[in-house]
């Protein structure tokens, strides 16, 4: 029924001599929100960085049928993958609109300014602060900006690394609501690493648990919520 957008197989990654991923396989289908859960140090962030060509890897990463494992980050972005890294990853010394314009760096079309206005409407709190430097925004606002900036490249796959980190509960709720809306309205495929498992599973169509560099469990969110060990470790009930 659904088409595979990203197909990862036998992916290994290491920082120097320390091996972090020991051969993982998974698939993200078009239009899905896939969620990766896992303990501190399990390799979640490394998985996202590997997809973007930011760590040394071996194995295979097929995006839309093309092998991208040895491509440079800038070229992978051109293929349609956008990454919102942990800790927001905006340009603190650039204004809100300049951040969005930088997000469209790989685009050459004439609709960039229209898109900027569109995202400022979707995140009205950014619209109020369009001339302000990103570094002066609050944590929640910066996270919104990071998502909008990533969307400005008109990606086919959005990677999000712990978008709830350091945010107040009410803001996290709002953010996930917006992510679900983007998924629904734009058909945006997402791969999300998240510690707030309850919220993440609520929006997910597929989920994985990473343990010590391998995939321990995968399946529909209901499958994971039904698992006793997953419940105890990640959901807290």
């Amino acid at each position: 029924m659904s088409e595979a957008l990203l197909h990862v197989s036998d992916l290994e990654a290491a920082y120097g001599a320390v091996k972090v991923l020991h051969g993982i396989d998974f698939t993200v289908n078009v239009g899905d929100i896939s969620v990766v859960l896992g303990a501190n140090g399990a390799g979640k962030t490394t998985t996202l960085r590997a997809i973007c060509g930011q760590v040394h890897t071996s194995g295979s990463i097929a995006f839309h049928g093309a092998e991208i494992i040895h491509e440079a980050t800038a070229d992978i972005v051109r293929r349609g993958i956008a990454h919102v890294p942990q800790g927001r990853g905006t340009f603190p010394e650039l204004s809100v609109t300049d951040n969005l314009e930088a997000g469209a760096f790989v685009r050459k079309d004439s609709e960039i300014n229209d898109d900027i206005e569109k995202w400022l409407e979707i995140f009205p709190v950014l619209g109020e602060r369009r001339g302000q430097l990103a570094g002066s925004l609050s944590g929640g606002e910066q996270q919104m900006l990071a998502v909008a900036r990533a969307m400005m490249s008109r990606p086919r796959l959005l990677l999000l690394d712990e978008p709830s980190l350091g945010l107040a509960p009410i803001i996290i709720e709002d953010l996930f609501g917006r992510l679900a809306a983007i998924n629904a309205d734009e058909g945006m495929t997402m791969l999300i690493v998240e510690q707030n498992a309850n919220l993440a599973l609520a929006v997910a169509s597929h989920a994985y648990v990473l343990e010590a560099g391998t995939i321990a469990i995968s399946g529909e969110p209901e499958v994971l919520s039904g698992d006793e060990a997953v419940r105890r470790a990640y959901l807290g009930y």
Partner: protein, 253 residues
């Protein structure tokens, strides 16, 4: 009796009022949660207590000391230690070395003895022994000789905690210690904080967005918004507080 008494603290940056007459106190041995929306001024309050920022008005009494009269480098000496939201470790130094830096506050060395290298060896040995004890307590022994750079975020938060403990503080300020941890890891962090409070005779001020952690370990919770206190009370009182639900917790809490 209150170990820390914050009274009427106001901090202004240019035209912005970051803290607006904030007052609260913490009894000796208490764990106090400090919560509020992003930008409410929690980290600013931490920076006032660790003397990074200057308070325009108000007083802070710590165990009879006027804390605002103590210079930034002197607060560790009188028993205040903190961790940082976005980490302030030396990435090139090992975990052990980072923790030893924290223990240096209690080194007997002064400028002259350090210059003359009097007693350096014995001092160094003592610092190292102390650092190893704390690493064992926080389950960090395995990575003692690993450089801080390259360790997972959650682990680094624990290294920061170890470094703060090495200064042998009486008041410990923790800034978002649960970042990057799974639910079960957060649970064990909660137990760790409670245990450390008992074994090290600590008083703890905890800034955290992870409500399960705040509500399970705190005896008292202070809620801030727009630089001012909007509520104060026990965890259960706070969870029912309508203003707190509206501004911070949201409907899902």
């Amino acid at each position: 009796m209150a170990l820390l008494d914050v009274s009427d603290i106001t901090v202004r940056f240019g035209g912005i009022v970051a803290l607006d007459g904030l007052s609260f106190d913490i009894d000796e041995g208490q764990i106090c949660g400090l919560i509020g929306p992003n930008g409410a001024g929690k980290t600013t309050m931490f920076n006032v207590l660790s003397r990074v920022y200057h308070a325009d008005e108000g007083t802070v009494d710590f165990d009879g000391h006027d804390l605002l009269a103590v210079p930034a480098h002197g607060i560790a000496k009188i028993g205040v230690a903190r961790t940082f939201q976005n980490l302030a470790l030396w990435p090139g130094m090992t975990v052990l070395e980072n923790v030893m830096v924290g223990a240096h506050t209690h080194s007997k060395q002064n400028f002259l003895s350090a210059a003359l290298r009097i007693g350096t060896r014995a001092d160094e040995r003592r610092l190292k022994a102390r650092a190893w004890e704390i690493l064992a307590e926080l389950d960090l022994t395995d990575m003692a000789h690993h450089p801080a750079a390259g360790l997972p975020f959650g682990t680094l938060k624990r290294v920061e905690l170890a470094r703060a403990l090495a200064a042998e503080p009486r008041l410990l300020l923790l800034d978002e210690p649960a970042n990057g941890l799974t639910h079960s890891e957060v649970e064990s962090l909660g137990e760790l904080i409670s245990n450390l409070r008992d074994t090290h005779s600590l008083t703890v001020l905890l800034v955290e967005h992870h409500m399960a952690l705040v509500m399970s370990v705190s005896e008292k919770v202070v809620v801030m918004n727009f630089g001012a206190k909007i509520a104060e009370g026990t965890p259960s009182e706070i969870q029912q507080h309508p203003e707190v639900i509206e501004a911070y917790l949201g409907s899902g809490a």
